[in-house]
């Protein structure tokens, strides 16, 4: 944005222009999004990675599980002796790194998306209830959040995964149950502010029930915030999944995930650094894109001072 907040406040056009100058919240967000490079970059990468993950079966040149020990450590296309057959070369078992990367995106995204979504449901429910009712209920909820914040997330997930095994479902649930706090904190704060707004009082004066007020007055105003946190938490979930897989407690081989690709490449890191670098870069690129997307969404949907 080329103008700062102070100037925006001084521009009278929002309150004083012809009707047609005004845009609905959605149109306004869209217009701002088109001028936001970070958001556009993040969105492009995330959409691309999602497409690749969905279409992995079509795009991948090889079966990601097919081993060919005679083709161990084939060089990448830009290295000497490399060919377009194995663009990113092969790993220690002769599997095609490029194909494994595509299938790995699938696992990473599925786990990240579901984990972040389940966490969103848990965190939002807790946050909204605390923020809306306040008082004792809120004190209990704050206590819950404090307890959660004092847990070392990664270590607890390590122990839980080692107890419950490491199927994708367990991974999703473990990550979800350990990373709902940000939703709870954000939605609680926003709900507390919304509760004081007069449109909530107006709804109460209509005789609306609490559940109706929460669902139809408060939740629509929380949606932006939830989506923003969701993207940021997806990035966290990808990293946690990668970390668990790297430690051998996440997705089990031979299923390809970016985390265990780094883990498997570690043994040969000094001779074939690209085996670690490529999935590592993929994680980095996806996480930073999701973060950019989340930051961008926060910027463009930020309620415009007054609305």
């Amino acid at each position: 944005m080329t103008i700062d907040a102070a100037t925006t406040a001084l521009i009278p056009d929002r309150r004083a222009a012809d009707d047609d100058v005004y845009l609905s919240p959605r149109q306004l967000a869209w217009r701002r999004a088109r001028r936001h490079p970070g958001l556009l970059f993040g969105l492009t990468v995330v959409v691309l990675v999602t497409l690749v993950a969905v279409l992995a079966g079509v795009i991948a040149p090889h079966d990601p599980y097919e081993q060919d020990l005679s083709q161990q450590f084939a060089p990448t296309v830009w290295q000497e002796g490399g060919s377009w057959i194995n663009i990113f070369g092969t790993d220690s078992l002769g599997r095609d790194v490029f194909s494994r990367l595509l299938y790995g995106a699938r696992i990473s995204l599925i786990i990240a998306f579901f984990a972040a979504s389940v966490a969103a449901v848990i965190g939002t429910a807790i946050g909204v209830i605390g923020g809306y009712f306040g008082g004792r209920i809120d004190a209990v909820i704050m206590y819950l959040i404090s307890c959660k914040l004092s847990l070392p997330g990664l270590i607890v997930s390590l122990s839980l995964v080692s107890v419950f095994g490491s199927s994708p479902v367990v991974l999703v649930l473990v990550i979800a149950f350990l990373f709902w706090d940000r939703y709870a904190i954000v939605t609680r704060t926003v709900t507390m502010q919304l509760r004081e707004r007069e449109f909530v009082t107006a709804a109460r004066a209509l005789g609306s029930s609490h559940s109706r007020i929460i669902i139809s007055e408060i939740l629509p105003n929380l949606l932006n915030h939830i989506i923003v946190v969701l993207t940021l938490e997806m990035a966290v979930a990808i990293l946690v999944e990668a970390a668990l897989s790297f430690l051998g407690l996440g997705i089990q081989p031979p299923t390809p995930s970016w985390g265990n690709m780094v883990s498997e490449g570690r043994a040969d890191m000094f001779f074939q650094p690209h085996l670690v670098a490529i999935p590592g870069l993929a994680i980095f690129l996806l996480v930073i894109s999701i973060n950019l997307l989340g930051d961008g969404l926060r910027d463009v949907t930020a309620p415009d001072g007054r609305n």
Partner: protein
Amino acid sequence: MTVLAFIPPSAPPVLDVAGLSVDIATPLGPLHALRDVSFSIRRGETLAIVGESGCGKTMTSLAVMGLLPAAAKRSATRLALEGRDLLTADHKTLEHLRGARMSMVFQDPMTSLNPVYTVGNQLEEMYLYHGRGSRRQARERAEFMLSRVGISAPRERMHQYPHQLSGGLRQRVVIAMALMCEPALIIADEPTTALDVTIQAQILHLLKDLQHEFDTALMLITHDMSIVARVADHVAVMYAGRIVEQGRTANVFATPHHPYTQALLRCVPDPHRESRLGSIPGRVPSLIGDSPGCLFRNRCHFAMAECATQDVPLHAAGDAHAVRCLLTKSPAAIERKSGAAAVVPIGVTPRLEAPVALACRDLSRTFHLRQGLFGGRRDLHAVQDATLDLRRGEVLAIVGESGSGKTTLAKMMLGLLPATSGAIMLDGRPIADYSARDVARRIQPIFQDPYSSLNPRKTVHQIVSAPLEVHGMAYGQERRRRVDDMLDKVGLSRRQGQSYPNQLSGGQRQRVAIARALVMKPTIVVCDEPTSALDVSVQAQILNLLSDLRSELGMTYLFISHDLAVVRHMADRVAVMYLGRIVESGRTAEIFDDPRHPYTRALLASALTPDPQLKLPDVQLAHGFPGMFAAGAGCQFRPRCPQAEAVCASVAPPLVRDGERMVECHLVAPVRAAVRS
């Protein structure tokens, strides 16, 4: 104006501005925030800049102070403070001029003082920063200034923090701060808008007194024509970034030439004119991009074809009076103009004998405040023993300063807040007998802030149909029709039904809020300061709409306001609240013509009317912050009362009834009155 006589006309003005323009780069193109603004202020003179919000008043002051936002570009042919050129002055020079030679008083005293420093600290800092002397001198000067702005025990106040002072006291401190270095120019940007009426009169008085004492020039920015009339020597009316009319206050008020000035004056409720308020249709146009001609033409009753094409310069229209309008250039047009300002009387007769729709008896609400974890409980009596009758079809106004319990009372009437004691009767039955939904169907609220009372994520149509939805009234086509009808009644188009609140102006939003309140056809509407967040021009529209709907639908209003002019215009009966108690109530005319309670008298005396012949009222009220907590026995108003007697401190005042009239005061009690006479 007498001051002017002592100054030779050759004395250079303190502030001299000519051809000042400000452009702001926005993504949609350059925004012309100010265009060709010229004025000058001499020592001891007051110039008021008046206009609706978004017209460039604050922008003018920021441009003078050199505090424009980074994206703004300023140009002028002349911008000089005491002969010193501000256009070419560098950062350092400006920094030393600000505060020392020109200083500002902002609107909100709650935010313009730093909460972590003591008052004394902030005052001294001002002095020391500008290198006026030692710390000891700074302290002496600060104490002197505090006593000059009418703060008692200045030495003790020096050690207090801003939060320990009331709003009025804080604004006094801000003024003291502005005067610390005896500046030549004070810019006061809506200095009393955030304050109560009684405090407003006192603060304006103080500003004027100090201005005379220190012989400073005062640039007063306000939206309130009454303040302009009472305080300013000269006035500049701004519209869409331009000065449209400028001159001696007396001249401009006596013969306003520009249609905008005339319209602004007609918007102010006038007690001597029982009529429908004038209003200005439409709103301030977008200032983005170039548009030739007069920018007011779209809202002007007298607009002609030439207005769209011809740029009119500010030209003389009589003695010390200039105007920017085509009409005043051709006499024929003026003829046409004078015939158009017709007034339509309101066609509502007060129904004082109608049955009581809503009543409360000895209603009280106490809040228990806990001070920290181990602190004791303190009781705040927000409302105490309120007794009111709201009759069908009437408008009952509740007036009082902030903190007097008006909103708490309204919330209890709406059933949103349980009462501590006392009873509320709705149509003769206790309100407890009704379910929340039954109450909702009969009583609906309209709130103060239309920016907060509408859900930003819903369309206007969704907002207005919500009541029908919650109560399962009217379905499908029928519901749609009722919502459209309602939007029609409040003057919104169907197309606007599909828009979101952020696409509407403040006035339109308030119309939506009114539509939502009325769509279920309730019998009673509680209006809590329905116009205090709006511009005067819009306030007039909303008040007119409320009056129209009242006569059309036979509504009953409980009308809460701090604005006496609005109350006088709207209400059949008035109840005056002070610190949770209703101290006086009666018919509007009785209360306004013959106020009996000293507080009512002070309140009425403080209210300003746009009459330049009258000076500022001298409000005989101690300005001590009224204690919010139980003040012990006796009359709550006693600490501020100019007529308090010994008995007031010990015995609670009796309730004196005189027909419709109720007064709670020792001084009007018949027994005492007899003794006194």
